[in-house]
Symmetry: C2
Subunit: 255 residues, 2 copies
């Protein structure tokens, strides 16, 4: 039985999508059968997961609306062991509230994640920022969760919000484990970053924060322009090595 | 009659809150009667608007729920001409979906913004990331809108989504004007940034993108740790000067 790993944060722009696509790619590079699911109507996974250029635009939104089958929305990527489910055609709609409402009500999402873990070793789920209904539903169906934390004061100040939510959801899903907080976009030349990282390590339990840190690198940001995860595009980049280290740790835990 | 200016983006972490608090503070520094309203349940305005340390936790969520009056939620700040309405106690709740549903249904939000523009010269509204129902309601009640665009490939790729929404809303609110896209967190040492900025200027109409650019500076990020807008805390910082330039342009338009 595989594991469903959700990537969540109360704050926007902290590296959820970057973390999701790179963990998925790194697991797949190691021969782990991996599925990456995009639950964010913004649909950013599409731009970073190494899809073929002629892929269909359909995805999760089309499946839960009943207009596409599961087989039609599971897409191959540049990696043999990585499949992706995009968020789908909701990305092109200017009113995304219908998708959000459906995601909160439908049983198709938990069923999809449950059956995916039967066929895959790891299912990684990217989520929209905030503590909305989509994130709640995804967490209720997950066994693992990672919270990327950008090393900036504002991201730190709102972190209690997501930790409170995780506590709340654990009450209804006793399988849910917080694997940890991953410090992202760490700039070694910035005092601000160093202070935030130091504060997090001093004030949170040691096992709640991963030792590795994802550095801010131009290769990580540029990878989205090239449509590929940085671990695939530039394995030697410090951000790739950090994600590789994170996967080594996760593999040990998922045994 | 004052103007309601909404700060929106489909993407998270692009500088919406930073732009909202600094525009509000800069208008107030110039003697413009300004109200800053936080509609994002994450409640980040609280950390950057220069509030007094003993302020109440109540705000918009408490007002639309009927538990607090308007007078109780309008807070003074370090600046005489700046008042703030926080998002309120929803920030402490692990389930924020009730707030989101109420915001989409209530008439109290449009009524609040309409009456605020009668008493103030400028009302600036911070919003949650994405194209959800809260953003839609705020845009329906606004006359002006600014879209911060972080100079990174992924932010650029998802920009058509917010432009589509703005077109959609303009059909129901003919007062709504897109004042422009503001390039944020511009790092002059980064090729990625330069390429994104250049692409934006070449592919969008010239009047759609402000000439000024907000540079990435540590003072702007640190300002949130100090609880004050950077224009107030460090007026000489390049990010402060950029926001000051933006206000000069907006003042000319709002005449
Ligand atoms: N290690 C890194 N180095 C440099 N840039 C990074 C790194 N990680 C993420 N980024 C960039 O930072 C921005 C935000 O990252 P990303 O989009 O992954 O965050 P997110 O939390 O998924 O955002 P959203 O809230 O919009 O879903 C993107 O432009 C991304 O390319
Ligand atoms: N000009 C700047 N220079 C340096 N850091 C900046 C600048 N503008 C914003 N930041 C930092 O970038 C991060 C994201 O900015 P901010 O929180 O304002 O974006 P947002 O769009 O409001 O995010 P969210 O989607 O979570 O609401 C914050 O940590 C902020 O301090
Ligand atoms: Mg994302
Ligand atoms: Mg914000």
């Amino acid at each position: 039985m595989g594991h469903v790993l959700a990537i969540v944060s109360q704050k926007g722009g902290v590296g959820k999508t970057t973390t999701a696509v790179n963990l998925a790619a790194e697991f797949a590079l190691r021969g782990t059968k991996t599925l990456l699911v995009d639950c964010d109507p913004q649909g950013a996974v599409k731009y970073g997961a190494g899809l073929r250029s002629n892929h269909t635009p359909y995805g999760l939104a089309d499946y839960i609306a009943g207009t596409r089958t599961l087989r039609e929305i599971i897409l191959p990527t540049a990696l043999p062991w990585l499949r992706v489910i995009l968020v789908g055609t909701v990305t092109n709609e200017s009113d995304q509230s219908a998708f959000q409402e459906l995601m909160v009500e439908t049983d198709l999402l938990p069923a999809l994640l449950a059956s995916a873990r039967e066929r895959c070793d790891v299912v990684i789920v990217d989520t929209p920022p905030g503590l909305g209904g989509i994130v709640r539903r995804v967490l209720a169906a997950s066994q693992h969760v990672i919270v990327p934390l950008q090393c900036e004061p504002l991201a730190l100040q709102t972190t209690p919000q997501i930790l409170r939510m995780l506590e709340d959801i654990s009450a209804v899903n006793d399988e849910l484990t917080l694997d940890g907080i991953v410090l992202t976009m760490f700039d070694e030349n910035s005092d601000v970053c160093a202070r935030v990282a130091d504060y997090v390590r001093r004030h949170l339990p040691a096992n709640m924060v991963f030792d590795m840190v994802v550095p801010r690198t131009s290769a990580a940001a540029e990878a989205f322009a090239a449509g590929q995860p940085v671990v695939l595009r530039n394995a030697a980049d410090p951000s790739s090595r950090a994600y590789s280290q994170l996967v080594t740790e996760l593999q040990a835990r998922f045994q």
